[in-house]
């Protein structure tokens, strides 16, 4: 390799390393772009310039978010404020419960005493000794979220506006013999990822709305917050629904007057939502985009969680599907070429 080219590649690698912090915002921006791409395709079919279409789309989104914030924002803020106010009391209550369980365990099985944690006030120390004690951390988190809120729509705007130009440049640089397979792989992957992301968001919205409505009907406190959490957690396969049910159950346990009947109602509600999601909602939302064997699906989620934690669990299914589709197309290509090389001519189309 020529020294100039080596230097250029080295420079590019260094630049990528320095910009590694942008990978996560870029992934989120790509997801947002996939989510909005059908609207842009619709505008394309009307022969509307991309820049105009994408600008108008973002203006509409900002307006919708403003209206949603106006309608739902006060309720969610009030719930969040009430939760923050109750947090010390809730943490104390949980700690008292945990202390009692540990004491009971230690008395009934002295052999386990060595294994049981010592001390107390675990939740209070975890919850209450954070934020106010470390204002630097708090500002860092808020700053990070603010940066994400700016960067993600910014990147998504340019991805939606200029992606077709980038693809055109890439197409012109592709060797002609690879064009057909490259177009096939790109279109299949694009379709799978797009359908999966749109399906996931739609699924989360429906599940979140159902959970919020159900919790509100069951008179569980903070239905909007818990519904929003259920919708978000639904993106994590297998674990997400359990987490949201556990959170709602915990709130019920700590609410005076709800008792075990309340826990039963919440458990039944989340069970019904899960069954509905698996049998009715998902087949309409993400069902068509994922054709993975259940064992492969579970395996990919486990591998994803080990590699990247919660993010890995969320992206495990589309990544496994993409790998499966790519392998299928490339193997098919190889098989046909091998047949051609063996001069096994296929039957001609009947004319």
């Amino acid at each position: 390799m020529k020294p100039g080219r080596l230097l250029a590649w080295g420079g590019l690698a260094a630049l990528v390393w320095l910009a590694r912090g942008l990978v996560f915002p870029l992934c989120l921006a790509a997801a947002l772009a996939y989510l909005l791409s059908p609207a842009v395709a619709w505008a394309d079919a009307l022969a509307i310039r991309r820049s105009v279409a994408v600008s108008a789309l973002f203006a509409v989104i900002i307006a919708v978010l403003a209206v949603a914030g106006f309608l739902l924002g006060p309720g969610m803020l009030a719930e969040a404020a009430a939760l923050v106010d109750r947090l010390p009391a809730l943490a104390r209550q949980i700690d008292v419960g945990l202390d009692a369980v540990v004491r009971e365990l230690a008395e009934s099985a002295p052999a386990l005493r060595r294994l049981l944690p010592e001390g107390g006030d675990w939740v209070q120390r975890f919850v209450l000794n954070r934020g106010p004690g470390e204002p630097g951390d708090l500002f860092e988190h808020v700053g990070h979220l603010f940066l994400l809120a700016i960067l993600v729509p910014f990147f998504a705007f340019f991805l939606l506006r200029d992606m077709h130009r980038l693809i055109a440049v890439a197409m012109d640089r592709l060797p002609p013999q690879h064009v057909e397979t490259s177009v096939a792989v790109w279109r299949e992957l694009n379709g799978v990822i797009g359908r999966y992301i749109r399906g996931l968001v739609l699924d989360g919205l429906v599940v979140g709305a159902l959970a919020a409505l159900g919790l509100w009907a069951a008179r569980v406190p903070y239905p909007l917050l818990l519904g929003a959490f259920a919708g978000l957690a639904n993106a994590v396969p297998f674990v997400g629904p359990l987490l949201s049910a556990a959170a709602a159950g915990l709130v019920v346990v700590l609410t005076p007057g709800q008792g075990l009947a309340g826990v039963g109602r919440v458990a039944l509600l989340f069970l019904v939502i899960k069954v509905l999601d698996d049998t009715v909602i998902q087949p309409f939302t993400i069902g068509r985009s994922v054709h993975l064997h259940p064992a492969l699906l579970l395996g990919s989620v486990v591998v994803g969680s080990h590699a990247l934690g919660v993010l890995g669990m969320i992206i495990a299914v589309p990544v496994a599907t993409v790998l499966q589709e790519t392998a299928r197309l490339l193997l098919e290509h190889r098989r046909v070429l091998a047949r051609r090389d063996l001069r096994l001519r296929p039957e001609r189309p009947v004319v």
């Binding site: 009307l46 055109a168 057909e180 279109r187």
Partner: protein, 174 residues
């Protein structure tokens, strides 16, 4: 609903490339008869690529996954014979080739090579299938046009030979 182009006062917002592509496709025998709205939707699914003279678009026996439409330049359709490559046809702007990839999974029956500098539009099979799933009118019109092209080809060559004969002939659908 969107049969008409954008109103005059919105002309500044129109995309010239899309405005050029849809009428161009309408002139292709394969897409003739499709309403403007469907042509506009179809046009957004095409990729465009510049080819240089001598470049092979696909070879006989390659897996067929896409349809090509010539925008500029000329494309030679050839078939290998014992005597060497036999030119079946030379296609120009508006002509489509590789159309059988849209309806079956057979390998290519001939080789397509670019003869003069040109640009091709490429439509991937799954994109066409997705459009047909959403709108049976596209399927009806394109398949009717394709049947017409096949009928013309069949009348010209009633018996399909395994090797092209010595006389002049034109390529059928690939």
């Amino acid at each position: 609903m969107f049969e008409r182009p954008l109103p005059r006062w919105l002309a500044w917002a129109a995309d010239p490339e899309q405005l050029r592509r849809a009428p161009f496709l309408a002139r292709s025998p394969l897409f003739a008869g499709l309403p403007r709205r469907l042509l506009a939707r179809l046009a957004t699914r095409f990729f465009e690529k510049v080819y240089h003279p001598g470049e092979v678009v696909f070879e006989e026996g390659d897996p067929g996954r896409a349809l090509f439409v010539v925008v500029e330049g000329a494309v030679e359709i050839t078939r290998a014979t014992a005597q060497g490559a036999y030119v079946l046809n030379t296609l120009g702007p508006g002509d489509a080739f590789g159309e059988l990839a849209l309806i079956d999974d057979f390998p290519r029956s001939a080789t397509a090579r670019v003869a003069t500098p040109g640009r091709l539009l490429i439509l991937y099979k799954s994109d066409f299938d997705a459009l047909m799933d959403g709108n049976s009118r596209i399927a009806l019109v394109v398949l009717r046009n394709l049947s017409r092209l096949l009928a013309i080809y069949a009348r010209r060559r009633p018996v399909v030979a395994t090797e092209p004969g010595p006389g002049p002939e034109r390529a059928g659908p690939l």
